[in-house]
């Protein structure tokens, strides 16, 4: 036996048995003096033994580390060999077989204690056998006497070598195993090993405790989906990942949320490969609790979102402030000349004879023109003045009622019937009262004008809360959107039964100074100011119209103040 080569238990058994076979064959062919060659029984025995050894060669190594199998073999051999020897009737050279037999037996000792016992026991057994056969007292007695201590020493020596090698190897294996077990046990991560179907082969104590089991045997054999009992999608996701690792033979990573425990996990799935074939035989799932990190990430994202929102709003405010300043400046620059025009017209009026009708008419027209100019300034100024905006939480239905009341006379004059439908009187929006009033007054008047030549003149106003489900203008998932999917908004519908807005005109209606009315009748600023007011309030306005049927404006407003930052003075 080559002592330098690694000794596995299987190899030991195999080689010993091989030695027995070869020795027996040798004695069959060259029987020593005083002995007969092996009889037929002997041949049969060798053949049988050879066959069993071939079987041994194909049994995987690891079985021999099962003590039952290992010592079982030894036991069988212990019975078979003497039986064979006895049956073969061969007396002389069986002693050589015994020699090797004893050595092999002693090398099976897993323990020094057993080694010593075995060595002495079998040496004495051998001595007794010799004595029984009268060899110790016969002609070659000295030779046989020497054999006894010789066998003792040899057996002890080989036994010692083999045992220490085995023990070393075992010790090393145990050390390594203990080392890894410590890691697995003490680790802060959740570790489990699953097979191709997602059945658990191994789970570390952390997982066992986490899912409320007592020991790992409860978990082994369970499917992953049974662990994630509350959450089918999570189980499916993980199972898919497992399968993918099996197929691609690569580590994969993913994150998941455990609803039951409220914890975020980062999973790393690594393939465990068979040492020989390099195929994936199992997947090791290591999961780490990353709830902290996710929470921090979310907080960070929220902060970024808030910062961007705030920055945008500040930019907007800045723009508005600049506009405001500009508007003030422009207003002043225009009003002074307007004043001179007025005073000039006053002078002309005073100094023109009454009968100059045409000249008076001309002066009249000039006044109207100057008035129109002043009105435009008034409109722009009233909107752009920062100090006027007081954004509060106000009851929208009340506001609409009041505004309708303000418009009542004008509506009655135009024979318009108005209807207000408010589902919930307590419905609130975040806005500036005056601006909203201005806005809705404008919409009501527009509606009334649109129905001027119609038979049916009904103005319908509806106010209700709506959950946002669709993406639209400034409505969606982005940081800059006013309305987020899933949030609520308050919708005010202003519907008329008027002549409607043609499709090609529809995109322009919010443009400043755009109007379809005759020159004297409107500034064309109403809707553009309405649009600006609504944007200022972080709302949106939509319009739907059908020619000859009517038009509906959808004013969408923020129900709560949290979205609109308060205007600083």
């Amino acid at each position: 036996m080559d002592m330098a080569a690694p000794l596995s238990r299987k190899r030991i058994i195999f080689l010993v048995r091989l030695t027995v076979i070869l020795t027996t064959v040798y004695f069959m062919l060259f029987p020593p003096s005083g002995g007969q060659g092996l009889q037929t029984w002997g041949y049969l025995f060798i053949v049988f033994y050879l066959l069993t050894n071939l079987v041994v060669a194909y049994i995987p190594d690891r079985y021999f580390y099962d003590d039952r199998i290992f010592y079982g073999f030894i036991l069988c051999d212990s019975i078979l060999l003497p039986a064979g020897i006895y049956l073969s009737g061969y007396v002389g050279s069986d002693l050589y077989l015994m020699f090797f037999f004893i050595i092999s037996l002693t090398t099976m000792s897993s323990h020094f204690g057993y080694l010593i016992i075995n060595t002495f026991f079998f040496s004495f057994l051998y001595a007794w056998l010799l004595y029984q056969r009268g060899l110790l007292t016969g002609p070659h007695a000295t030779g046989y006497w020497i054999q006894i201590p010789f066998i003792l020493v040899i057996a002890m020596f080989y036994g010692y070598l083999v045992t220490t090698r085995l023990q070393d190897k075992d010790k090393k294996i145990n050390e390594v195993r203990a080392y890894y077990e410590q890691i697995v046990r003490g680790t802060d991560v959740f570790m489990c090993i699953v097979d191709r179907e997602g059945k658990i082969i191994f789970a570390n104590p952390k997982i066992i405790n986490f899912y409320g089991y007592q020991n790992k045997d409860d978990l082994v054999g369970l499917e992953l989906s049974q662990l994630y009992s509350e959450d089918e999608t999570e189980a499916e996701k993980t199972l898919r990942q497992v399968k993918s690792v099996f197929e691609r033979n690569e580590t994969s990573r993913h994150e998941s949320f455990d609803k039951k425990h409220g914890i975020w996990f980062a999973h790393t799935l690594s393939p465990i490969r068979d040492a020989a074939t390099k195929d994936v035989s199992a997947v090791c799932i290591i999961s780490k609790d990353i709830t902290d990190r996710i929470e921090k990430e979310n907080k960070l994202n929220n902060t970024i979102e808030l910062l961007i929102k705030t920055r945008d709003q500040l930019m907007q405010q800045d723009k508005m402030a600049a506009l405001g300043r500009m508007a003030s400046g422009i207003a002043h620059e225009i009003r002074n000349p307007l004043e001179i025009i007025y005073m000039g017209l006053d002078y002309l009026e005073n100094n023109i004879p009454d009968d100059q009708v045409q000249i008076r008419e001309a002066i009249d027209k000039m006044y109207h023109a100057a008035n129109r100019a002043d009105n435009i300034i008034k409109n722009i100024l009233s909107f752009s003045r920062k100090s006027e905006w007081k954004i509060v939480q106000l009851p929208i239905c009340k506001l609409l009622k009041n505004t309708l009341e303000l418009a009542r006379q004008s509506l009655q004059k135009k024979n318009v019937a108005a209807r207000l439908e408010c589902a919930d009187e307590s419905l609130e929006v975040a806005a500036d009262y005056n601006m909203l009033e201005h806005l809705f007054l404008n919409l009501f008047e527009n509606a009334a004008d649109a129905m001027a030549d119609r038979e049916e003149r009904i103005l319908t106003i509806r106010a209700y809360k709506k959950r946002i489900t669709e993406i639209g203008y400034k409505t969606g998932y982005r940081y800059t959107d006013f309305f987020k999917i899933g949030d609520d908004m308050v919708v005010v519908e202003v519907s008329d039964t008027g002549k409607g807005i043609p499709k090609d005109v529809l995109p322009k209606i919010f443009e400043p100074f755009f109007t379809t009315k005759p020159v004297n009748e409107g500034t064309g600023l109403g809707l553009s100011i309405a649009h600006m007011i609504i944007e200022r309030l972080s709302g949106t306005i939509d319009v739907a119209s059908q020619e000859n049927v009517g038009t509906t404006f959808f004013v969408k407003l923020q129900p709560e103040m949290k979205f609109i930052t308060k205007q600083e003075e």
Binding site: H332, E339, Y342, M343, D346, N350, D374, I377, K378
Partner: protein, 128 residues
């Protein structure tokens, strides 16, 4: 004429002053003096002692408020009522009360027509 109401107009816009003078003097018993800077106006006010001063708020050389403060300093002008005239405001956003005042000050937003101007002047003077 001695019973004429003496009006001092202080405004950096000369044409405005011109028209106020022309229109007022054509429409009623008014004697109108003009100044196009605050300093000039204060001087005129001290020497001529007008019954009422029309004062523009937004003037490049000396803002209207400073002029008003200065006038308050001099005993001879301290009691003359001042009607602030300005293009910087409109009726709506100054929240003028019924009498066209903010606090103790009368304010007339531009643009105004002559008739309204005269009405306001009379109202102010009737009080005092």
């Amino acid at each position: 004429m001695p019973t004429d109401i003496k009006v001092l107009v202080i405004d950096d816009e000369f044409d405005f002053c011109y028209f106020v003078k022309t229109n007022l003097m054509q429409s009623g018993p008014f004697d109108v003096l003009i100044a196009t800077t605050g300093t000039e106006g204060i001087e005129l006010a001290r020497t001529e002692r007008p019954d009422i001063i029309l004062l523009d708020l937004f003037m490049p050389e000396m803002p209207g408020e400073d002029v008003a403060d200065a006038l308050k300093e001099y005993p001879e002008t301290a009691d003359i009522p001042i009607l602030f005239v300005t293009a910087l405001a409109s009726n709506d956003d100054l929240s003028l009360n019924q009498e066209g005042k903010i606090g103790n000050n009368y304010i007339m937003p531009k643009p105004i027509r002559t008739k309204k101007l005269i009405q306001t002047i009379m109202k102010i003077l009737d009080r005092t």
